[in-house]
């Protein structure tokens, strides 16, 4: 009997690696490999007709962090990502709460309506915003009906990029928050209300602390996606608006400066990782406290 149990355990310890092995190797090669390649390229020397000459130089990083233009692009990217994420949180939390706590029989339909935009490519949806925001687009036409002679200029502005980003990211935030809120025992809220706490206090002392891990995950997801946005930034932001992902494309394809493109890609990667790790640790600490 003991031999049979030992044999079974031995089988399990060899089975798991065998089954996970191919997928792990595939991910290591297809994800980690290119990242290492980009890191290597970021340390190479730029040559317009060779794209990147093998070398080990920190010159590209020095140029990136001492050039006001590149720092401006980083600042714009972080600002847009932060504003978009906070907007998703502010707009998404009430929606998620309603979905989580709602007793309507249309709950399934509401979730489908929420996820329906995800079936359409973000680029297509961004083009829709372009039609809406154009000078003679639908938005100005509608404003013109109510206030004749008045028009807005949203196209090629930071506001347009944020609106476009929020429209793409909101479903992710709502769905993440909804499952977090569903995990909160409703009786805790009832108990707090029963003890005389007004709704704002119930939210602040009961709902928000318990939903914080879900909010953190939703925020990391939205922030990362917003930091890496390309089509929304290019189509709605215009030529004067620069974010990191279009900068990587520009350096890589237009300037043929693969070294600088590698630097921009690494900076983007490290920024995303730093945020994800930092936010996760902050939430964990708060929970332990």
């Amino acid at each position: 009997m003991a031999d049979a149990a030992e044999a079974l355990n031995s089988n399990r310890t060899t089975t798991a690696p065998l089954l996970l092995g191919p997928a792990t190797i595939f991910i290591a090669i297809m994800i980690v490999g290119p990242l290492l390649l980009i890191a290597t390229v970021s340390l190479s020397r730029f040559d317009a007709l060779s794209l990147a000459v093998e070398a080990f130089t920190l010159r590209n990083y020095f140029e990136f962090f001492t050039d006001r233009y590149y720092l401006g692009v980083v600042l714009t990217t972080v600002t847009v990502a932060t504003v978009s994420t906070l907007s998703c949180l502010l707009i998404g939390f009430p929606m998620a709460y309603r979905l989580a706590r709602g007793q309507t029989r249309y709950k399934g339909l509401l979730i489908i309506l929420l996820t329906l935009p995800l079936f359409i490519s973000g680029t297509i949806r961004t083009i829709g915003w372009m039609i809406l925001f154009a000078r003679d687009g639908l938005l100005n036409a509608a404003i013109g009906v109510v206030l004749p002679g008045v028009s807005t200029e949203l196209m090629y502005t930071t506001t347009a990029v944020v609106i476009g980003s929020v429209s793409i990211l909101l479903p992710y935030m709502v769905l993440t928050l909804q499952s977090a809120i569903e995990g909160i025992e409703p009786r805790l809220e009832e108990a707090a209300s029963g003890m005389g706490a007004p709704p704002a206090t119930v939210f602040r002392r009961v709902i928000w602390p318990l939903a914080l891990p879900g909010a953190a995950i939703g925020s990391i997801l939205c922030f990362t996606m917003s930091m890496n946005t390309y089509a929304t930034a290019v189509l709605l932001g215009g030529p004067r608006f620069h974010m990191m992902a279009p900068l990587v494309y520009y350096e890589f394809t237009v300037r043929n400066n693969w070294s600088m493109a590698g630097v921009a890609a690494m900076v983007l990667l490290v920024a995303n990782l730093a945020l994800a790790i930092g936010l996760t640790r902050t939430v964990k600490k708060r929970y332990r406290g």
Partner: protein, 349 residues
């Protein structure tokens, strides 16, 4: 389960690994070697007209099938440089413009053209002929304006400093090099001296410029009245006018910038013989005439009228549009630096 298919974990994993390797090997077998001619070019109307006019002549002359790889020029240039060390590239022909042809001229990326295999090479206009870059057509970059709102068109680029145009000037980011060549032509008479263009461009910007990513967004702005004037291609003006947009071209005293679009054969092209035959088809008078009349760019050959009459729009009035061909070789040397200035200081300054 063992009755139908003797299978265990090891066989399953080995099988899937083997299947994966087989798929990779088979896919690589589909690469070049089929004899199809691959032409890397711009999409949209350009690709369609190539297919309708040039491919037809090529196939009628005994050529095989033609596959188009569509994309923008900058990524095409990057790919060509990236695959230059490969024994066999992925394209037989690459479409590029005169600026990039000058940038890549000394890089030994392109195959010198064997004129004996491209008989129509002899009819290329003298000032467009080049041993590695075969011109397809050329256009003029000048100032376009809305005749309904602009009573007196600008006579020079400097007229865009006039407060009458304040806030109604459009510039495309995509055309930044042409904008700077035009500025240099105005400022110093030498388009390649792009450093001299900075002052006039900054003055025009002070008068109120709206930036657009490309020609498509520019025409939308012209149509909606957001802008009244914008540097642009004469050919685009003709096409937009045909589409009902109120637009005309101003003939500037200093002249318009000539830009040539053409094709080159990469040195590692897999099917060079077919590539030369395709270039010959591209220079065929019938193909040149059809392309010119459809896209409104001027043909690159001197015997196009043997195939028919050029459209009225391409017949320039008297006095004719003064056209200046920049020294693209000199301009290519400063292209990157000027691009940095445009992006970092001009647009974002």
């Amino acid at each position: 389960m063992d009755v139908l298919l003797p299978m265990n974990r090891r066989r399953f994993l080995a099988g899937t690994a083997g299947a994966g390797l087989a798929m990779i090997a088979a896919k690589s077998g589909f690469a070049q070697g089929s004899g199809d001619l691959v032409v890397a070019t711009w999409g949209g109307d350009y690709a369609r007209l190539l297919q309708e006019n040039v491919d037809a002549v090529y196939i009628a002359a005994g050529g095989g099938s033609v596959i188009q790889d569509l994309g923008d020029e900058e990524s095409r240039v990057a790919k060509m440089i990236a695959q230059r060390r490969l024994p066999s590239g992925t394209w037989d022909i690459a479409s590029i413009s005169s600026m990039n042809a000058a940038v890549l001229k000394d890089s030994e990326l392109f195959e010198p053209i064997d004129a004996t295999k491209v008989p129509n090479f002899a009819h290329i206009k003298a000032d467009l002929a080049d041993p590695t870059f075969i011109p397809h057509n050329y256009g003029a970059y000048t100032v376009l304006y809305n005749p309904q709102t602009v009573a007196t068109p600008p006579k020079t680029l400097g007229d865009l400093r006039d407060p009458a145009y304040g806030g109604k000037i459009g510039l495309t980011d995509q055309g930044f090099i042409n904008n700077m060549l035009m500025g240099a032509l105005y400022a110093s008479g030498n388009p390649a001296d792009m450093e001299s263009s900075k002052a006039i461009l900054l003055e025009i910007k002070k008068n109120g410029v709206r930036f657009y990513p490309n020609n498509e967004s520019l025409v939308g702005a012209l149509k909606s009245g957001e802008i009244d004037v914008a540097p642009g291609f004469y050919a685009r003006m003709l096409l937009w006018k045909q589409a009902g947009v109120s637009v005309e071209a101003a003939f500037l005293e200093e002249g318009a910038i000539v830009q040539v679009t053409g094709m080159a054969v990469p040195r590692n092209a897999p099917n060079k013989e077919q590539a030369f035959a395709y270039l010959n088809a591209m220079l065929d008078p019938k193909a040149q005439l059809a392309f010119a009349n459809a896209m409104s760019y001027w043909p690159a050959i001197d015997n196009v009228e043997s195939a028919g009459k050029l459209s009225e729009g391409l017949t320039l009035p008297d006095p004719a549009l003064k056209m200046v061909t920049p020294d693209y070789a000199a301009a290519a040397k400063v292209k990157d630096v000027m691009g940095d200035w445009w992006r970092k200081e001009y647009i974002n300054g």
